[in-house]
């Protein structure tokens, strides 16, 4: 997956302007080495190593509280790690944050947006922050709102969007500067199936044209279907990583995940909860 020929045409779902520059770069899109973070007594991430090949569609899975969001925050320059380094296409995130962040499109989980802006203003704002020209910003914003099915709601303040629409506008913001790496924390949470399928097409097209996508998710089915690589983390440690087929080894990803992480109960629930 690391060798993408230059002549792959951008897929129809992805507007030309947003397609990443095709890369012959042999360095991994993201290389995480010895990443560690603790909050007080609690260890959130403990010596995590991760290599995300360029052009891969990489799934990051783990149980609740495994450290997925913490890891992705540190990898995208939002949370300072206690130890370890993160390189994005060879650029160290924490020594050259400005250069590294230009390569990343980030959909963070559990943060607000500037929700008093309209959807159109928010995407425009993000484009301007990355220093795109006014023409570029205008064209890309229109494209992205159309892809995300938000053209109707372009003039509505984001605070009045539904949860799924908010996710979509955040995704549009992550795409507007045509990053080489997309880091998406729970991108499909509360997104309706039709929009999810549309977004999936866009992301697939993006990786075929040389972009790299990292998604964190709780949905094993989704990861098994969409991703070509996967990493399983629990309690801040890497339990397994590689291509999806390598990791699941003949089982479904769901079963393999439960086997790796453990903690599955086989019970019908407490007696008092049963209705008959």
């Amino acid at each position: 997956m690391t060798d993408i020929p230059r002549d792959v045409p951008p897929p129809s779902a992805l507007p030309e302007a947003v397609a990443p520059r095709a890369s012959t770069d042999s360095r991994p899109a993201m290389q995480v080495t010895g990443l560690a973070k603790r909050f007080g007594q609690k260890v959130a991430v403990e010596g995590l190593d991760l290599v995300v090949p360029t052009g891969s569609f990489y799934g990051l899975v783990g149980p609740n509280g495994a450290g997925k969001t913490t890891t992705l925050s540190m990898a995208t320059g939002l949370l300072r790690p206690d130890a370890g380094t993160v390189d994005i296409h060879g650029v160290d995130v924490w020594t050259h944050p400005v250069e590294a962040k230009k390569l990343i499109g980030n959909l963070a989980d559990g943060v607000r947006l500037f929700d008093r802006l309209t959807g159109e203003q928010l995407v425009t704002y993000t484009g301007m922050m990355f220093g795109l020209t006014r023409e570029e910003v205008g064209a890309r914003t229109a494209d992205l709102l159309q892809i995300m099915d938000l053209t109707e709601a372009a003039g509505t303040p984001v605070v009045d969007y539904s949860a799924g629409m908010t996710k979509k506008v955040a995704l549009a913001c992550a795409l507007v500067h045509a990053p080489r790496l997309l880091v998406l924390d729970e991108p499909f949470e509360s997104v309706d199936p039709v929009s999810a399928a549309n977004i999936e097409d866009i992301l697939r097209g993006y990786t075929t044209s040389g972009g790299t996508v990292i998604v964190s998710s709780h949905s094993m089915d989704l990861v098994q279907r969409m991703c070509d690589h996967v990493a399983v983390i629990a309690q801040g440690r890497l339990l397994a990583s590689g291509t999806v087929d390598e990791v699941r080894g003949g089982q479904t990803l769901q079963d393999r995940f439960v086997e790796l992480v453990g903690g599955r109960h086989h019970a019908e629930g407490p007696q008092w909860l049963r209705q008959s």
């Binding site: 995208t76 320059g77 484009g127 020209t133 605070v159």
Partner: protein, 528 residues
Amino acid sequence: MVATVLRIRFRVLGNTLSRSPMQLVGFIFGVIGAVWMLFLAGVGLFFVGTLDLDIARAVVTFAGAVLTLGWVVGPIFAAGLDTTLDPAKLAPFPMTTRQMMVAITAGGLTGVPGITTAIGSLAVFLVWVRYPAAAVAAVVCVPLGVVICVVASRAVAALAAGIGGGRRTREVVGLVGFALVIFASPLFVGVTNLLFSASEQGAQLQTVVSALSWTPVAAAWAVPGDLAAGAWITGLLKLVIATATLALLWVLWRRSLAASLVGPPARAARRRRSGSLGWFGVMPSNPVGATWARSLTSWTRDFRYLRQLLLIPFAPVLVLVYSRGDLDGPFFAASGLLVGFFAGILAYTDVSYDGTAFATVLQTGIRGRADRLGRMLGSATVSIPLVLLADVVTLAIVGKWELLPAVIGGSLGLTLVGLGVSAVSSALLVVPTPAPGDSPFKRVPGSTFTMFLAFFLCWALVAVLALPAVIPAVMAVFFGVTGAGWVSLAIGLVWGAVVFAVGVLIGGKRFDAGAPTLLAQLRAFQGA
């Protein structure tokens, strides 16, 4: 059920305090302040009891009125309402609206202000101990007065938060209510001044207080005094007024609470035509322009920012009240300086209002100085015209146009210095703020003593750094030194611009180093 809720309330308080030592310090300071006020009230009322009955009645009635108004107005200026027992949090539990209201009232009574009020009001018995009829009446009336305080504060907050359906309506009503309360309070101070000056003459005091004793805020506190004086009929009528007040507040509160429980913040389905980018279409397409446009959009549309802008007309009004309506003296003419002082420092913790949306800023990899410059330009774009307007209007009122250069120089100097200080302080400091659209009455959990300290430090810093511009302005306005006004204008603009630029550079460096820490703190506030 009520007891269970109260147990939860104290559990939450205990957990919060044990988790954060600085909050414990703030809490202890609050308790010390409360004990000190109790001591003063006790000693004061003891001596009042030994005085003439008329004076004792007047003092108790007036103190009761101040206490009740304090409960209603206090949350806005000081700590805000304790939202540990928020109706929205209690809604999922199987309790009736009445049980919920009893629980919230009981929670209000058992907080530090509630306990202080309850103990303090017991001191009223020190006054009435010599009048048996009054003492008996006080057994009923003092608890009534205290409960009115608590219920009034909750009812007003619920009303301010719950009127109207749409988000926009609610926000506008909240802003108007906030403005009314802010502008009513100097009037209240004015009335107090009037009272004290009247008491010097000893004549009108009685009339004013007896009029006050018929109002809902003081009726309950006036009853024992009336009985002590043998005025049984008026005492009884005031007891009826007080009871009716409580009943009315209860009904209003109940109604807005019931409405807010089943109809939580509604979504406004209002749309603006697409393609209207507002400020984003005007500003240059680069990080500074983007930040500037966003900041300006917040200053003109976000009600949390608009509430701060209300301080600007508030300053001259405040000066007018404290100078007892004296338009001819130098104080009102110089009130533009106070406006400039407030206006510059408004953005002292600008990043706080981003909330976790600050992540969007951070992930664009913006350079610190671009961020600082954009934010401060946004703040300046609204505050500088307002400062100039305030300068011109106040001077037009007093008709002293010759002071214009001095006042403009001093006020703009203060504003620019304030912006420069804000550029640094807002890169170092975030404080918990209400989320966009929250009620202005709502207390934000996690405010600590250190934050107040930092706030006053910023104010002091602005005051000191702006001295080069303020001193000539003061010389011109207060001592009529000719030529000092133009000196003030020149120094104000040049020195102000220098401090502004240096602030942006230093703040930018701090931002580059510390922005992820700010985001981590903002996340913690959101979780709190």
